[in-house]
Amino acid sequence: MKAPFGRSGGVSDAIAQPAPPLSAGTATDSFESLYRSAFPRVYAYVASLVRDRAVAEDVTAQAFERAYRRRRTFRASRGTPEAWLFRIARNAALDELRRGKRRAALEVEPADESLAGAPEEQAELALRRATVRAALADLTGHERDLVALKFAGGLSNGEIARVLRTSESNVGTRLHRTIEKLRRACHGDA
């Protein structure tokens, strides 16, 4: 039996590790590689959507298990393994949201390292975080989904297009509008 593999430190670290193609090597090994590179981002994305730690954990586990069971159905011609995995995770999260209509406040705290530094810097960071959270709270569900795929999931616009079953240019346009909306909210522009 293989020893449990070490998990990635966080979303930033995970994004730096490109997911190997699922078809490389045996399906199980490929899936473990995919899991290793994508787990933090999948969790971050799911948690951003459902905004409940326990639910996020359930949905993330369910998504990976579902992906594991269906790993032989993956077709490289339909997109990258990550897009395929995030699509499964998104469906699981949306199903969960639809079932429970959970809208609990986010209990998950961001990584602690972002608060490191001098007291003035910490205060500035905390203020910026509060501003960003307020701006995020004003987004629609679809916009929040898009932002989560981009920044929590770390997907490229092309991969997001695969997940959302739309075109890459449409994703670029919607993302641009959403970021502009957030920027205006954060900086108070009209």
Partner: protein
């Protein structure tokens, strides 16, 4: 198509996310990059305990008790899996294809029998009505595509038992099968290529002669019209009938064979009894004439004798007609022009081509049913997917 502004936003955001820091010099782009980094910093991280549990589960293959290629269980988490729409559509299409194929094979288009004219069956009682009660007395050889082989089989049938129908009224029959007088007849339809009609016609005459029969009528038409043919009527001794039919069937392809038997025993016996009675009456009249007392009485008796002799002659002719009718069997042979079934490589190629044509015809008809069904199934599947997707997306509204 992305605008220039969208492209610059995307580049700035992607650069910051890749580098993990602000890299742009322009204030506006720096602002975007700071926002992108802040958004990523908002990404929740999984708890260590959960991550450890997930590591273990993945490492253990999620505790799978079956391989991914193994059959799925009927239900999961207490919910029954919905049968895929495509599978239902496929099953419906398969049923439709089977129905189409069955209707095609059951219909006229792909009938494997020849188009020989059905030969009327003559019932043993001479009424012309076919009846199940005719039993073995009437053997109706239905038209088949058997060709030479089929003709041989029918010839074998012709050699079979031609006994009178058990359904006949046997009260007046004499005991003993050997004393039965049966009027037998047969109708044969032979098919031969146009250039062989004359040869087959000559063969029919030869067969009749070989079996001590006579040709009572014949006609033969040949030419290039493709409508050649002929008809022959033979009379052969009754005991030669099976052998005659067997030889006739060897001449060409048998398209149809019908045999009929009409038991004439009672009539035969009655005719014979009538003759005997009249002869006895004649003897009585002769005895009376020998003892006649005067000329007048003798003249009257002689008149009776002449009348009785006339009756005897008429009765003997009737008796002879029945005897002849039951001593000879009538065979009506109809000769038609038609392709004789060939054997060998050429015939095999022809059969193969015919088979391919049939398969193609079935395929085209099946596609006529399957394509609309498949299209309908695809539209339904697409609509179902769309509805499911919309329902899922409604969670984001």
């Amino acid at each position: 198509m992305a605008t220039r502004e969208e492209s610059s936003t995307q580049v700035a955001v992607d650069d910051a996310l890749e580098a993990g820091r602000v890299t742009a010099a322009e204030p506006e782009e720096r602002e975007l990059q700071e926002l992108a980094l802040a958004l990523r910093a908002e990404s929740p991280a999984a708890a260590d305990e959960f991550a450890r549990r997930m590591d273990e589960r993945v490492s253990a293959g999620f505790g799978s008790r079956r391989t991914p290629s193994a059959p799925r269980p009927a239900g999961r988490s207490g919910r029954l899996r919905r049968p895929p729409l495509a599978a239902l559509a496929g099953a419906a299409s398969l049923l439709a294809a089977i129905a189409v194929a069955a209707s095609l094979y059951g219909g006229d288009d792909v009938a494997t029998t020849t188009d020989a004219e059905p030969v009327p069956v003559v019932a043993p009682d001479g009424t012309g009505a076919a009846s199940e009660e005719a039993g073995g007395a009437v053997q109706d050889a239905a038209p088949t595509a058997g060709g030479v082989a089929g003709g041989g089989a029918e010839a074998e049938a012709a050699r079979g038992d031609l006994a009178p129908s058990p359904g006949l009224d046997r009260r007046d029959l004499l005991p003993g099968r050997e004393s039965r007088r049966v009027d037998r007849s047969a109708q044969v339809t032979l098919a031969a290529p146009g250039d062989e009609l004359q040869e087959v016609g000559a063969g029919i005459v030869s067969v009749a002669e070989r079996h001590r029969g006579v040709l009572t009528s014949s006609s033969l038409t040949t030419g290039e019209s493709g409508r050649g043919g002929g008809s022959y009527e033979l009379q052969v001794p009754v005991d030669e009938l099976p052998a005659t039919l067997a030889e006739l069937s060897d001449l060409a392809t048998v398209r149809g064979l019908t045999q009929a038997a009409d038991d004439q025993t009672a009539r035969f016996v009655r005719r014979g009894d009538s003759v005997d009675e009249l002869r006895a009456e004649l003897e009585d009249l002769r005895a009376e004439a020998a003892v006649a007392e005067d000329e007048d009485e003798l003249a009257a008796i002689r008149a009776d004798i002449r009348a009785t002799r006339d009756e005897i002659r008429a009765a003997e002719r009737a008796f002879e007609r029945v005897r002849e009718r039951t001593a000879f069997a009538t065979i009506a042979v109809t000769l038609v022009e038609g392709e004789e079934r060939q054997t060998g490589l050429g015939a095999a190629v022809d059969d193969g081509v015919d088979l391919l044509e049939d398969v193609l015809a079935i395929t085209i008809r099946a596609l006529g049913v399957l394509l609309p069904l498949g299209l309908l199934a695809a539209v339904l599947a697409w609509m179902a997917g769309l509805v499911r997707r919309r329902a899922r997306e409604s969670a984001l509204a």
